[in-house]
Symmetry: C2
Subunit: 136 residues, 2 copies
Amino acid sequence: MNTREIVMLFRQKGLKATPQRIAVYKFLNENRIHPDVETVYNQVVKDNPSFSKTTVYNCLKDLSASGLLIPVMIDNDKIRYDADTSFHGHFICEKCKKIFDFYCADYEAKGMDGFVINQKDVYYSGLCDCCNTKNN
Amino acid sequence: MNTREIVMLFRQKGLKATPQRIAVYKFLNENRIHPDVETVYNQVVKDNPSFSKTTVYNCLKDLSASGLLIPVMIDNDKIRYDADTSFHGHFICEKCKKIFDFYCADYEAKGMDGFVINQKDVYYSGLCDCCNTKNN
DNA sequence: TTCATTGCAAAAGTTTTGCACGTGC
DNA sequence: GCACGTGCAAAACTTTTGCAATGAA
């Protein structure tokens, strides 16, 4: 997705297309690594030394509020973000802390009559195949 | 569950039965409100003024590590705890922040060969029936 | 007695806030 | 031009840590 397409996407969502937001979204969209704020900041600041961490926080929050990013709160100590907004599960390895996407069928929750469900998060945790094989 | 039963349960898990742990577990077991640390502390300290918040943190962590409690990390800004350790989903209302249990079939994860899954959390969010009806 | 647990204070870490300045549209 | 977004510093918050004192087994 190039810059022009991102600008148009932002406009559709009523978001002003600032260089900060574009850089943050582009990084998330091209790097499906579920980065935390620190990681996003460290990456975008390389090419844009004037960017501040507060703004990265703001961008991530605004893009999430507009449905362009999903906050992944699988690891309690920090928020991660995902540009893949389709329904899928997240697995976190307790040892290496890496996050893996997995696919699972969606279905209806029971006993939720009258409830409005805006977001469904499926979080699994354990050991990834790599850490499990090393078994240490 | 009375105190004697809780003491036996702790012994089975290899946990020393301190008054602090007993009070914390009893509160969680009798009040299925998914309380955060602050709420647990405020309650148990009423009957035990000497209890400290650090110890409540320790107790909740130890009881979780032993499988007696499930940490519910649906709201990113604080950890909640649940004494119902059977598989079920959690719904948080974005408006009133209340948490509701719901029952759902297990999500079958695809492409997880070689992974060890220790914990499965299903978190939904939106508006509860009460807040939705008021629609304000 | 012994070693895990407790409690206090201080530290660590992420996220939020206030406000002047800058900028997209 | 105007409203919104940015950036800096400081504040707010939850959670963790270090360590001496206490207490369960």
